[in-house]
Amino acid sequence: MITYIIRRMFGFIPVLFGVALFTFVLVRSIPGGPFDFVGDRQLPPQVVANIQAKYHLDWPTWKQFASYVIGDDLLGEEGTSRGLIRGDLGLSLFYRSQSVMDIIRTTLPTSAQLGVMSLLLGLLIGIPAGTVAALKQNSWLDYSTTFGAIFFLSVPSIVLGPLMIWIFALKLGWLPVAGWGSKAPYILGFLPNLGDLNVEYFKLAFMPVFALGTGSAAGIARLTRASLLQVVREDYIRTARAKGLAERTVIVVHALKNGLIPVVTIIGPAFAALVTGTFVIEQIFGINGMGKHFVASVGNRDYTVLMGVTLLYSVILVVANLMVDLTYALLDPRIRFD
């Protein structure tokens, strides 16, 4: 098991390098650079040259990439980049006084809190709902669960968000309109401060968590139902019943455990996506999360921020997928990593 984990972790290096190289080349191949214009004003060539020199955008692409990965000093050049290998993601080209690390440090914790809560809500609603729907197949319970799932899957958050604001904040006045309740410094770099963890925090979190959580709950419920319907027809379930186990034990211990494998599979990517921030929900609820940087950095041609958030997403994704693979062994005795 340990050797397996170590082997997998060595595998991350080429994957991340590939992601870095591919993204680096791709973002620079989009027409239009970060400093060609201010608004719609075309800048004089010498102004553009000054700025490009400051950020080393006048170097050939390979050299920029080398500077990005190993740093300026190892490259024998003057500059501020200490390189990816030493955890330096560079300076933002758009937010002129901030480094990419600054940006991630302020926005990731908020996105992570929102994402984890949403995923938990998704699992708490999705798995029981899917199980009930599968066990009572073709009953009214099944139909209403399936209807609810399809409803929440189809209603886009751009509709659900403003609708919830209108109902719960403006009409009923139960919840605040927008914002997020915790600020830096965070515990362990991402957990909200205990002082911030009050009623106000959960009131602010309710709508965005609900809007995000129900979306994933719907997906999880449908997957749980489909998978469980297949599993309960397996021979070993018949065996379990035949040896006289209580129905509850059959379902919870034998069927559900196995039926959750597809669900666990999607939790990996879902975790990475939710934790790194969701653009629409964060924008609607005025949450200072990381989601906006995935979108805005493309429009701003903020190469370094785009690289930074993409790499961070990749790291979280590969780690989450490793976790998922390890969980398989717990759920299915046939899977071993030795």
Partner: protein, 632 residues
């Protein structure tokens, strides 16, 4: 077994509920207070008095200091007069040398004092740091501008720990006041190529600025045409005479800057707790992407007249969320999203809070003058006259936008009254012009339509809506079919460069322009002069790809106006230039002048500044009315 599990589950549920209940309980706040208490004690002591031992009882009242815990009463804290503002986005920078966008300029306007300022209503240049200025000439015949500065503006820094605003002191412990050297430093820093300022080019009017910013080998920053004659006098020497220079001097890029703080902290000098400022407000905190709060600078020269004591600035991007916050009394003023416009106008309360103020921006469609058939003036004039600008404003934009027939909007020095010059909506004139072109070329309308005319805009719902409306007007009024295309902003700007091969250009493109300073020079000259401007219209191009340009009457006029010192003469030249561009050449089609569409709570009195940032120090807010509305 099962029962047990149920029981334990119940227990867990109860435990969670209990926790929640505890969390929900209003906390009893106790305070530790150091009190002086009068204590009365009866003291019995034995005294030896005249050889006898006597017991004496005395009553003593004494004051002791003791530490007690008391239940704090909900204090009626005097709330500072607070403006809840939405910046709308994270300001990309607070550095005056680097700011280019309206949000950053808003921040700088409140943190820093500029040499001059624009009157919030009239837009006229008025004294600020500079009390007076005069124009002159140096020995070589270059125009000079000499500014006299006030000497009582303190450099201050906000201490986030103590919450105090303290004046900066120099190495000798003397308090620092803004002086002419700070202005010189600020200007030099903007021009310095190492600063990599986007807006450095606006200062190219200053002697040697363009060369120094371009990395000249011979010239150094010391050769820049700005010098401190003494502590309170700064003199600029210009490349070419510019009557509008006091407007340029009032821009953030020429603001005084604190050399010592910038050298100590580098790029990070604009962070809260480090930034040294000299304006009406100081930066209390700045959580990037989240909030930027300002508090009043008690040492500000006019602090007595600054009524708003605190500005809580959020960064809500989504217009509908910002509007919801406004409706919930969490913002004091905000923009109105287009989908809400009809409701706002119909609602008796919101319509009273609604205001549209002219903004110094113009929306226009440019014609690529080297792309057939827009090489012909008749075609361009036909397309321009076939746009019903009033209908567009009333039915599509809905914000009281002013139909434009010339470029610079009202309020800009030299701008003609909208509708007096240029080409307005005239269907018959448009049809006649198009027919003239068709006859002259000997083609039919169908053949004209086969040319596949393309109108391009940058990707945005708003631009798409306008393009669809105008496309329909052209179809109805002229019978021409125009294809609408869109591109992502940066790609779009790349396409519109005048170095793009003409085949890849659209025939018609959408663009807008907003004032940097309130003078026509910033408009017709900087945008459309084929020599000095970006020349996206490709006027006066020698070949279709515009490798070389010549000049024509219009271009000579805008240069003449730049050199003229006589305001009346300048006005006249600009009127002429505007009419040539929009009518005689019909090189582009002005469409509308922007308005700022906003709702403002009755307790806030605000200005809508035509140019420059929002200056919170000139606004007032009735805090009692606000608290009452919030139900506090």
């Amino acid at each position: 077994m099962l029962k047990n599990r149920k029981a334990s589950l119940l227990l867990v549920v109860f435990a969670i509920f209990a926790l929640l209940l505890v969390a929900c309980q209003p906390e009893t706040v106790t305070e530790t207070v150091v009190q002086e208490v009068e204590v009365t004690r009866v003291i019995t002591e034995t005294v030896v008095e005249e050889g006898e031992t006597v017991e004496v009882t005395r009553v003593v009242t004494e004051t002791v200091t003791e530490i007690v815990e008391v239940e704090a009463e909900p204090e009626m804290v005097e709330q500072p007069v607070t403006l809840n503002w939405n910046f709308g986005t994270e300001p990309p920078t607070a550095d005056p040398s680097l700011a280019t966008d309206t949000t950053s300029v808003d921040v700088d306007t409140n943190l820093f004092i500029f040499l001059t300022k624009f009157h919030p209503v009239t837009g006229e240049v008025s004294p600020s740091l500079a009390t007076e200025w005069e124009v002159g000439e140096d020995a070589d015949g270059n125009q000079t501008w000499t500014f006299n500065l006030r000497n009582d503006v303190a450099w201050v820094k906000y201490n986030p720990v103590t919450g105090e605003t303290v004046q900066e002191v120099d190495a000798d412990g003397n308090p620092r006041f803004v002086n002419a050297n700070d202005v010189v430093y600020g200007v030099k820093r903007t021009v310095n190529p190492d600063t990599a300022s986007d807006y450095a080019y606006v200062l190219y009017i200053i002697k040697n600025a363009a060369d120094i910013n371009g990395g000249s080998e011979e010239l150094t920053l010391d050769d820049l045409g700005v010098v401190a004659l003494d502590d309170s006098t700064v003199q600029f020497t210009l490349e070419t005479p510019a009557g509008y220079f006091p407007s340029i001097a009032g821009m953030w890029i020429a603001a005084p800057q604190p050399q010592w703080a910038i050298e100590e902290w580098g790029d990070k000098w604009t962070e809260a707790g480090l930034i040294v400022t000299n304006g009406a407000y100081v930066m209390e905190s700045w959580i990037h992407g989240g909030e930027l709060n300002l508090v009043k600078n008690p040492l500000w020269i006019d602090a007595d007249n600054v009524q708003i004591e605190r500005v809580e600035g959020q960064m809500i991007v989504e217009a509908s969320t910002s509007f919801a916050l406004y409706e919930n009394n969490e913002l004091d003023t905000t923009g109105v999203p287009l989908p809400e416009m009809d409701r706002v106008k119909a609602d008796p309360m919101l319509s009273a809070e609604y205001y549209n103020a002219p903004a110094a921006c113009t929306y226009y469609y440019g014609f690529v003058n080297t792309k057939y058939p827009f090489t012909d003036r008749n075609v361009r004039a036909a397309f321009s006259q076939a746009i019903d600008r009033q209908s567009l404003s009333d039915n599509v934009l809905k914000g009281g936008q002013i139909p434009a027939t010339t470029f610079a909007p009202p309020g800009i020095f030299g701008a003609p009254e909208p509708g007096t010059l240029g080409l307005g909506y005239d269907v018959e004139g448009a049809q006649a012009d198009l027919q003239t072109f068709l006859d002259q070329e000997g083609i039919t309308l169908d053949e004209f339509n086969a040319l596949d005319i393309v109108l391009m805009h940058n990707t945005s719902e708003g631009h798409a809506r306008i393009a669809a409306a105008i496309q329909q007007m052209w179809a109805d009024n002229l019978g021409v079919n125009v294809r609408v295309e869109n591109q992502e902003w940066a790609v779009y700007l790349d396409t519109l460069r005048n170095t793009t091969p003409v085949e890849e250009e659209p025939h018609i493109f959408r663009m807008g322009w907003c004032a940097d300073y309130p003078d026509e020079n910033n408009w017709v000259h900087e945008v459309f002069n084929s020599d000095a401007g970006a020349n996206r219209l490709r006027r006066n191009c020698v070949d279709a790809n515009c490798a070389e340009t010549t000049t024509s009457e219009f271009d000579e006029l805008t240069v003449a106006a730049q050199l003229s010192q006589d305001p009346a003469e300048r006005m006249e030249i600009y009127a002429q230039a505007e009419d040539i561009l929009a009518n005689v050449e019909a090189a582009y089609a002005p469409i509308y002048h922007y308005t700022t569409v906003a709702v403002t709570k009755p307790w806030l009195t605000r200005y809508f500044s035509l140019v420059g940032g929002n200056d919170f120090s000139s606004w007032t807010l009735d805090m009692d009315a606000k608290l009452a509305a919030q139900g506090n």
